[in-house]
């Protein structure tokens, strides 16, 4: 039986901004929409938008200049990747290991599949 949880809205909102940063749509030190503008655009409660911004601030992905607005931090992309790396190791890896155990897949199997995939995806 699967046990899936969906992420809170504010986490999803934060992810959205992170995606934009990683894809280069938002540059370092670029101003991002205000909390309210973001809330309006995403059609969510402004408090939820605020939580998303607080989360990103705590992860040092964005910073706030009082009276002016929120901006993308220097090294935001690196910060995001660090957070995601941590989350992958803490959340997704255990699930993968559990599946591997259940299905009888070994680490060597994984290594082999990985190098094969790498060969086909990078000509």
């Amino acid at each position: 039986m699967d046990f899936k949880e969906s992420k809170s809205i504010y986490v999803q909102l934060a992810d959205r901004i992170c995606e934009d940063i990683l894809q280069g749509k938002l540059a370092e030190d670029e101003r991002i929409p205000s909390v309210r503008e973001f809330g309006v655009a995403m059609e969510v409660n402004v408090n939820t938008a605020m939580r998303a911004y607080d989360l990103l601030q705590s992860q040092e992905v964005i910073y706030n200049r009082r009276g002016i607005g929120y901006f993308v931090s220097k090294g935001a992309a690196a910060a995001i990747l660090a957070v995601r790396r941590k989350m992958f190791v803490e959340n997704e890896l255990p699930e993968i290991f559990r599946q591997m155990d259940l299905l009888g897949i070994t680490v060597d199997d994984i290594a082999r599949l990985y190098s094969e995939t790498l060969k086909t995806s990078r000509p």
Binding site: M1, D2, F3, K4, E5, S6, K7, S8, I9, Y10, V11, R36, G39, V40, A41, M42, E43, V44, N45, V46, N47, T48, A49
Partner: protein, 276 residues
């Protein structure tokens, strides 16, 4: 701040009591979702909060004044967008010109901004509008009064999908810390991301009253959880609610929460009390 104390109301002089010794408080800066089965009294509560209904006992106070006194100072600071209404057959600008002066905090620029948010032109004639458009116009007016209390009875009823999206945008624009917004609805999905607090009304009174954040921490919503205290079939499998750890956030499925509360409110509410 709206304070409801010992509110007892029934239809006519001897009819069934819809509310019996009901106590509640609506705080500013919060968007409330008022949910409940048909006939439980959601519209009645909203009407009573506007001073439209005289209770058999108890009182509803807005800023310390009983709303039944219908004082202009109180009435000009609250607005209700009812489920159905009739607009006079005049132009929109005339309507605003006549009715805006009753509301001292009315802002013309806000009104135009909300109209633009709904993608409605400023030069409209009210008699030629469809039901949905009339609703949008009334909502714009309601928000533009900058009333501290805004009540909405089934606001997304009659709006097309695009308009529902615009509604959410306009609501996000209109909410602030000094305002109390109460949305009574059956269409939970239309407004679930807009709510700060969920209040579920039952026949005997309040069944559930928590903020969405609290629900996210003290309940865990998922698919197929083994320790579910409530489950309902869904497209992805068995949608479940389990007890949360009080710290980690989970996404909140308000519709599922509503069903769970209707089934067994006590079990759900127990999750919010610390168990050692």
């Amino acid at each position: 701040m709206i304070e409801i104390k010992n509110f007892t109301y029934g239809y006519g002089k001897t009819g069934r009591c819809v509310f019996s010794d009901f106590d509640f408080r609506f705080e500013p800066g919060c968007v409330y979702g008022l949910l409940g089965e048909n006939g439980v009294g959601k519209s009645t509560l909203l009407h009573a909060m506007m001073g439209l209904l005289r209770p058999r006992a108890g009182a509803i106070r807005f800023g310390g004044t009983d709303v039944c006194e219908r004082r202009p100072s109180v009435l000009s600071d609250c607005y209700i967008v009812p489920e159905e209404y009739d607009l006079p057959r005049i132009s929109l600008s005339d309507y605003v010109r006549i009715n805006a002066p009753f509301y001292p905090k009315f802002s013309r620029s806000d009104f135009e901004r909300y109209l633009a948010g709904f993608e409605l032109p400023a030069a409209l004639n009210l008699k030629s509008l469809s039901m949905g458009q009339k609703k949008k116009v009334v909502m714009c007016f309601a928000l533009a009064t900058n009333a501290s209390l805004l009540l909405m009875d089934e606001p997304t009823n009659g709006l097309d999908i695009l308009s529902k999206s615009l509604f959410r945008k306009v609501m996000a624009q209109g909410m602030n810390e000094s305002r109390t917004i109460v949305i009574s609805t059956h269409q939970v999905r239309d407004v679930e991301n807009m709510l700060d607090r969920v209040v579920i009304l039952g026949r005997q009174g309040i069944l559930f009253d928590r903020t969405v954040d609290e629900a996210a921490r003290h309940l865990r919503f998922g698919i197929g959880a083994p320790d579910a205290i409530f489950a309902a079939p869904s497209l992805q499998g068995l949608a479940t609610i389990s007890r949360g750890d009080g710290v980690t956030d989970s996404a909140v499925n308000i519709e599922l929460l509503f069903c769970a509360v209707q089934a067994d409110a006590r079990k759900i509410n127990d999750c919010f009390t610390n168990q050692r």
